[in-house]
Subunit: 387 residues, 2 copies
């Protein structure tokens, strides 16, 4: 009896004394081939745990709950998984569609919206228990369903999404989530393929795939409709094959500029954020995929499509020129900055590594093993708009 | 024996099953008269615990550790207290000076800097154990010590601070914290009384008390020195008594504008952030104290010095006019937005209450009891620059 008590006491002490985990410096690394994720802690570049059986993560993204306890992983196969970052386990998992591309969490943290290809549309779930709250088919042209892309949350209880096949942008008010109110902007341009929201939540900018230019919606003045811009850019350039669809979502906005990956060209486009004019085309090492500004807006980091995906280039925003070329390894797929930007984490798929750099000195700080890492997502995203 | 085991088992089960606490939605409410703070959770407007014996909190501010587990409270009496938000207890407390005004946490989260009046200067501590790492007296004019104000963290391992008596701004590089490198900007103007850093960490703007205008340092180009601006503003206005020194620190910056409380005048100054010119003087209900922009930059909230401190006014950034006047109660001292701005928490000292509003509808969501509440600080500040 005494012995049992001793063991129980020890177990008890272990539970009591085990240091509780804070959630401000946690992150998720997607391991795309295995369908698993790592939970990491970025203050000490530390692996914490691994969660398996998340389905097809070949194109996956993550949002975080308002308290940063839960990560919601959107898988390619329509899987939506809620991971408990404190208990290192799956809290709930559903298959909500046949093919999905990403998601968003509402401003108040209560709703998870998912952007689906098949069936084309948006579904809205309770962030608490993943129960379906609203189903919004992306219907156009008398009953056709469009793929949806570029889904973001926006201020005052909105989601914004683009319809790839329909060429539309929808502004969805979810103040009453059971009955979303959809404002449709039609003929915004051919095949919007992704979008970004400026960090203040004001401008929604969609890239167009089947024609030149970008479509912009000013959420302060939605009644003014969607404006086109840069329609003339590159119209005489040779058309090159597009190796990988670039991404727009991310912090590609600095104080004065929006940085956009060109499609099919080895260049980054710089747009003046005040007049929405093209300022410069910066030549880079290949076709850019992610073009991401540091939190301080002083440098912009760019990775590339195959066959140039061993490069990582850094643009100096002072003079809009490439200042540094890094080679972290083979197949650099994604990068994520620490909240105040002193470090950047880089996923190097074919080397099964995540590399951490000091953003000021470019010194390598750490290499962590990871199985075919793709996306990296840190928990401070919980407090940002449009991610 | 069986009984003891039962009790132990129960205790053990309690410790194991007690829901662990995430740290993304925590906050601190200063109770200035008692020298205590409340720990709250803002997803459900919930009181969690109270921490006592923090000394003189008549002018207190708070920063958060990188992982959001700890809050560092800077008291008026030179007290620096590290509070453990997961265990609801004081982790460590020191008295580091005779009279202090505020502090900051370094970009990498490793250093806590405190701004002192007596003895005038900056002290830098380890965020881990609060041990002194560097002492930087604010020496000027052959051995005099200046009060220091407007201390902020800045990118690439810097702190920036203003010297009230010396009329200087110091840029402190703490890459090697044992040997800080100080760059001094002299004759920036008479009596800088507070400062703000733009959200991207680029511009440090100090307000001047003993003469008109503001002093601005561009941290991208420190070699250009400190620039003066708005030196002509209000030079013919009648001088009014200043009831309370206004504060500059906070999110007073939107996409295009910097909003500044006028000193001794019932108006908010709007400055064009691109040309640093005065755009408008907005008449308001009294002498403004805090002028704070919502995270989406669409509205600016203003509170006031006695005798107008029952008001809370909201400026519409679209047209730069007051759109709403709220009366939360008597002596509105401070306000804090939730991370993505759907709610604002307001401290109403003389009613012993904190009032929570919906920022879109202005509906009152909750009232929480608090003893003479002054400052409110939420944990997502851990991930912002310059707060």
């Amino acid at each position: 009896m005494q012995k049992r008590l001793g063991v129980l006491g020890l177990l008890c002490a272990f539970n009591t004394l085990a240091d509780p985990r804070a959630t401000g410096d946690l992150g998720i690394i997607i391991e795309r081939a295995q369908g698993s994720v790592q939970i990491i802690e970025h203050s000490h570049q530390k692996y914490l745990s691994k969660i398996n059986e998340l389905g097809d993560l070949s194109h996956a993204s993550v949002v975080f709950s308002r308290d940063q306890r839960y990560a919601y992983v959107f898988g390619r196969d329509g899987g939506l998984t809620k991971i408990d970052l404190l208990n290192d386990e799956i809290d709930k998992r559903i298959i909500q569609a046949g093919n999905s591309i990403g998601g968003a969490i509402s401003q108040d943290g209560k709703l998870i919206a998912v952007s689906n290809y098949t069936p084309g549309g948006i579904k809205i779930f309770s962030s608490d228990n993943l129960e379906l709250i609203a189903d919004i088919p992306a219907e156009y042209d008398h009953g056709k369903l469009s793929k949806t892309v570029g889904l973001v949350d926006a201020p005052n209880h909105h989601f914004v999404v683009s319809l790839f096949d329909a060429g539309e942008i929808w502004l969805i008010n979810v103040k009453n989530p059971q009955q979303p109110v959809v404002t449709k902007f039609k003929q915004v341009g051919k095949q919007p393929y992704d979008a970004l929201l400026t960090p203040d939540g004001r401008y929604y900018v969609a890239g167009l795939f089947a024609e030149k230019g970008l479509a912009r919606l000013d959420l302060w003045y939605p009644e003014k409709g969607v404006q086109r811009m840069l329609a003339d850019y590159g119209k005489n350039d040779a058309k090159l094959p597009v190796y990988k669809m670039p991404h727009l979502e991310g912090w590609t906005v600095t104080d004065d500029f929006v940085f956009i990956p060109a499609i099919g060209q080895a260049e980054v486009l710089v747009i003046d954020k005040h007049h929405w004019q093209l300022v410069k085309r910066i030549p880079v090492a290949g076709q850019p995929v992610f073009v991401m500004a540091q939190p301080d807006g002083r440098q912009v980091w760019v990775n590339f499509a195959f066959p140039d995906n061993q490069h990582l280039q850094i643009i100096d925003v002072k003079n809009l020129m490439v200042k540094k070329n890094l080679k972290p390894g083979n197949a650099v797929l994604h990068l994520e900055f620490t909240p105040r930007g002193e470090q950047v984490w880089v996923a190097v798929r074919d080397d099964d590594q995540v590399v951490v750099y000091d953003t000021e000195s470019f010194a390598e700080i750490a290499r962590l093993p990871a199985d075919k890492p793709s996306g990296i997502f840190f928990s401070h995203r919980a407090h940002k708009m449009g991610l």
